[in-house]
């Protein structure tokens, strides 16, 4: 009975595989090995930070909001983390905790502005982003703080060619997948993103899931910031802007098949989207493409990849007839249901009549 629909995550995977194949060939033409450990590590490293941001962004987008403030949250987190650690390994737990708490606070503010003040997510987070930028510029002049060696290991160690940071990112993706799939908050987030009024009429409190999504999004941006601090060894007030993470993460999320209007999408799609971008970037870097041209290619790839499935994602009705007027048999189930429905009605009618002994 389950009606099959080509899941957009599958399409994303397809595009990714295509990108990998083309990438491998292109890299082969310049005499390099696509699957060499160094190259794999380059791709995966490229995925880690954006991946973390995209995971958070997915949550917000599922809830039909947006978060443009992630760039500044990332910068702030890298600074907070690095300055609190101040080169002392003993400070790591406190630094991580305080940083994530502050980020959660920013997410909470975003969430409250969006849900309580009813400001559109785009504008709300554009505004908080500006505020954060002001705070960063006022309080930090250039990179500061110092990350102890122990914490730097997170950004520089790997299991074989797989960086620890990627493993952390994937592990968190699993966690979020679990959250979306197996918790009420997740289910309610899909509902609120799909249609807040329907969610409300169904008894869902519409604010908490969206607030939670914003909080988590900022926390994930904070994690990305900490990861960057670990890789950079210092905190930097511009590291978020450097990566253009806000728009790229939204692009990756949509590339991964999540509906920008909310209510549909998956975390794995977003990770796939990030992977596509990382592979494209890697191939272009190895090929030494002109940096300006890289942006052109990125732009085209993003649009083209989304175009592959966006038309397909809008399924209308099941066709009943094939090209020449032949029956596709797609409606057999519904046809069978007709009779079952009739049978069910009469059976129900019988039982009630029997129970009540007739009715006027």
């Amino acid at each position: 009975m389950k009606r099959i629909r080509i899941d957009s995550t599958v399409i994303v995977l397809g595009i990714l595989i295509l990108a990998l194949i083309i990438g491998a060939i292109l890299i082969g033409t310049v005499g390099r090995n696509f699957l060499s450990p160094g190259n794999i590590r380059d791709i995966l490293t490229g995925m880690s930070v954006l991946g973390l941001v995209a995971i958070g962004q997915t949550l917000v987008v599922l809830g039909a909001s947006l978060d443009l403030s992630v760039t500044y949250v990332i910068s702030l987190a890298s600074l907070l983390g690095a300055t609190i650690m101040n080169g002392n390994p003993g400070n790591i737990p406190a630094a991580v905790a305080i940083t994530l708490l502050v980020c959660a606070g920013i997410g909470l503010v975003n969430g409250l502005i969006v849900t309580v003040l009813k400001v559109n997510g785009f504008i709300a987070t554009l505004g908080t982003g500006l505020i954060l930028q002001g705070i960063l510029n006022t309080n930090f002049e250039g990179s500061s703080g110092s990350v102890p060696w122990e914490f730097q290991l997170i950004g520089a160690t790997g299991v074989g060619p797989v960086p620890v940071s990627t493993i952390i990112m994937i592990a968190l993706a699993v966690l979020v997948w679990f959250l979306l799939d197996r918790t009420r908050t997740g289910a309610h987030l899909y509902a609120v993103g799909g249609d807040p009024e329907i969610a409300r009429l169904s008894g869902v409190r519409t604010r908490p899931p969206l607030i939670a999504a914003h909080v988590l999004c900022s926390v994930f941006a904070g994690l990305a910031g900490l990861l960057l601090a670990s890789r950079l060894g210092v905190g930097s007030p511009t590291v978020g802007q450097q990566g253009g993470y806000a728009l790229l993460s939204i692009a990756a999320v949509v590339l991964g098949g999540t509906l920008l209007l909310g209510g549909r999408g998956s975390i794995w799609g977003a990770v796939g989207g990030v992977a596509i971008l990382a592979v494209v970037d890697n191939v272009m870097s190895v090929m030494q493409v002109n940096p300006f041209l890289k942006d052109v290619v990125r732009g085209v790839v993003i649009v083209a990849a989304v175009a592959v499935y966006s038309r397909r994602a809008i399924v209308r009705r099941r066709p009943r007839f094939g090209a020449g007027g032949t029956r596709t048999g797609g409606d057999d189930a519904a046809k069978a249901a007709e009779h079952e429905m009739a049978a069910a009605a009469s059976q129900l009618a019988d039982t009630t009549t029997a129970a009540e002994g007739g009715r006027a």
């Binding site: 009420r184 169904s202 008894g203 209510g263 046809k335 009630t352 009540e356």
Partner: protein, 507 residues
């Protein structure tokens, strides 16, 4: 049945409610008793849905009290009402198309185990609920968007039943259902009442009201008219109280001087992905009805003619000359009009004014005629007796019937020659229905061809000069005026083999 149990389970007293300073409920008293089906009727905009929403805790009343099991309650969120046992099937679907049946049914109160959603339990209890109703054809794990409208309505009802409800309000649950599913719903409701559940039932199909209800409350313009035992009312009396006047006949006779003329549109063996082998002829001055079960492809038929799902096979002629209509635009240019089935999704831009909606088609297709049409708007609107607060009023604030009239106005302004009506009276009240019927007769009298798709058999029988019946994507029969319901149903269910299905309408 013991419908006269004295103590009401739910009672409302002196409910008042205003929107933007306009009072839409003017002190309503109303109660339901356990095991009773209480019908709530009234014209479009009478305030039925608003009352339901107040009971459901969706909107607060401005004044008045809601007493549940003898105690005054103030539900600020639908969830509170649901938990207390007051459950509502709203007029608009409250299902998320991207989520599965089980996820929708348990939305807001997913069963949990160790803090996590227990998917297995959710699926199995949804399956159990479905099985309890004898519905085995809906998969709890199917995406709701992939279900037919009727199946979605059943899911909606299942969702309501999944609560341990004492009172279930159903706001036009049958608007999207054909008779088959209505029967199923009847059975479900009877089973509920036999368990002592109280049901508030809102419908514009008076037959259902009389079939099902124990008592009937009539609202008019936000005020309570009467509450009576069903046995004490007749259809005529009910209608008189609803509209304030008596309507002699539901279905006006043809306007004098209406003559059936030349064929205006002819289809020969047309087909697309949804319908096939459609051959029919519509003549000037003729009203042709199309009957069929839900999902039999009637909407696809008119959408095919109108170019929305353009026919990929067969030939079409308008006024004798062959045409290819591959877009709605081409159809409008060729003189067609389609009053679509779903007013909110396809008919109106609800945030725009009455005037802008009325001019929607002219502006889209004949921009050059905009200013001329603009001058005609007041005349057309008043001939349809639209009651709005002015041309500037947003369409969303009109009641259903008035919205439908705006849709009609939008098409009349294009002066169409062939008018396709898809469920023209769905969800509108008797008064507005009558106006629509009269309009159809007038169009016919003006020599236009009218095709009407309807799920209400009395309407098809009462209005049509010929009746076409669809089954599973094909035209299976053509029946003459005055055919009986069982004949139509026979053809629609495929039980009776029609003599010749291919040229059903061509004669």
């Amino acid at each position: 049945m013991n419908a006269t149990t004295t103590q009401p389970v739910l009672a409302v007293n002196g409910i008042r409610k205003s929107f933007f300073g306009v009072e839409v409920l003017k002190g309503i008293d109303f109660d339901v008793r356990p095991g009773e089906v209480h019908g709530l009727v009234g014209e479009n905009g009478a305030g039925k849905s608003t009352l339901m929403k107040i009971i459901a805790g969706v909107q607060p009343a401005d004044e008045g009290v809601v007493a549940y099991r003898g105690e005054e309650v103030r539900h600020a969120h639908p969830r509170q009402a649901m938990d207390a046992g007051i459950v509502t099937v709203f007029q608009e679907f409250t299902l998320l198309p991207e989520r599965t049946v089980a996820q929708n049914v348990y939305l807001g109160r997913e069963p949990r185990r160790a803090g996590f959603v227990d998917r297995k339990a959710m699926i199995s209890s949804t399956a159990a609920l479905l099985a309890d109703l004898g519905v085995s054809f809906i998969d709890p794990q199917a995406r709701v968007g992939s279900l037919t409208v009727a199946e979605q309505q059943i899911v909606e009802i299942v969702k309501a039943l999944s609560f341990d409800a004492q009172v279930i309000s159903m706001d036009e649950p049958t608007a999207a259902l054909s008779d088959r599913e209505v029967e199923l719903l009847y059975a479900i409701i009877r089973r509920l009442t036999s368990r002592g559940v109280a049901v508030i039932y809102v419908s514009h199909r008076l037959k259902e009201i009389f079939d099902l209800c124990d008592r009937i409350t009539i609202l008019k313009d936000g005020a309570l008219v009467s509450t009576d035992e069903t046995a004490a009312l007749t259809t005529d009396e009910l209608v008189r109280r609803m509209v304030g006047r008596s309507i002699q006949s539901y279905f006006p006779d043809a306007v004098d001087g209406t003559t059936v003329g030349e064929p205006r549109i002819e289809l020969e063996d047309c087909g697309n992905a949804y319908v096939d082998g459609v051959s029919l002829t519509l003549r000037a001055g003729e009203i042709v009805g199309v009957a069929g079960l839900q999902g039999s492809g009637r909407t696809e038929l008119v959408e095919g003619v109108f170019g929305i799902q353009a026919f990929t096979r067969g030939t079409m002629r308008i006024d004798g000359s062959p045409v290819r209509i591959t877009s709605a635009r081409a159809a409008v240019r060729a003189g067609l009009a389609l009053v679509s089935e779903d007013r909110k999704a396809q008919g109106l831009a609800l945030g725009q004014s009455v005037l802008d909606n009325a001019l929607l088609v002219v502006r889209s297709v004949f921009p050059g005629r905009t200013s001329a049409s603009r001058r005609e708007v007041p005349g057309v609107l008043s001939s349809l007796e639209i009651s709005s607060r002015g041309l500037d009023q947003e369409a969303r604030f009109l009641s259903g019937g008035n919205q439908q009239k705006v849709v009609l106005a939008k098409w009349l302004l294009t002066q169409p020659q062939i008018v396709l009506f898809d469920e023209p009276t769905r969800g509108i009240d008797v008064g507005a229905k009558y106006a629509v019927y009269q309009l159809m007769r007038e169009l016919a009298a003006q020599g236009k061809a009218v095709l009407m798709v309807s799920s209400e058999l009395p309407e098809v029988i009462g209005m049509s000069d010929r009746i076409l019946v669809m089954h599973d994507g094909e035209l299976v029969a053509e029946l003459p005026v005055g055919s009986a319901e069982h004949e139509i149903l026979g053809a629609a269910t495929g039980a009776v083999d029609s003599p010749n299905s291919t040229d059903g309408g061509a004669r």
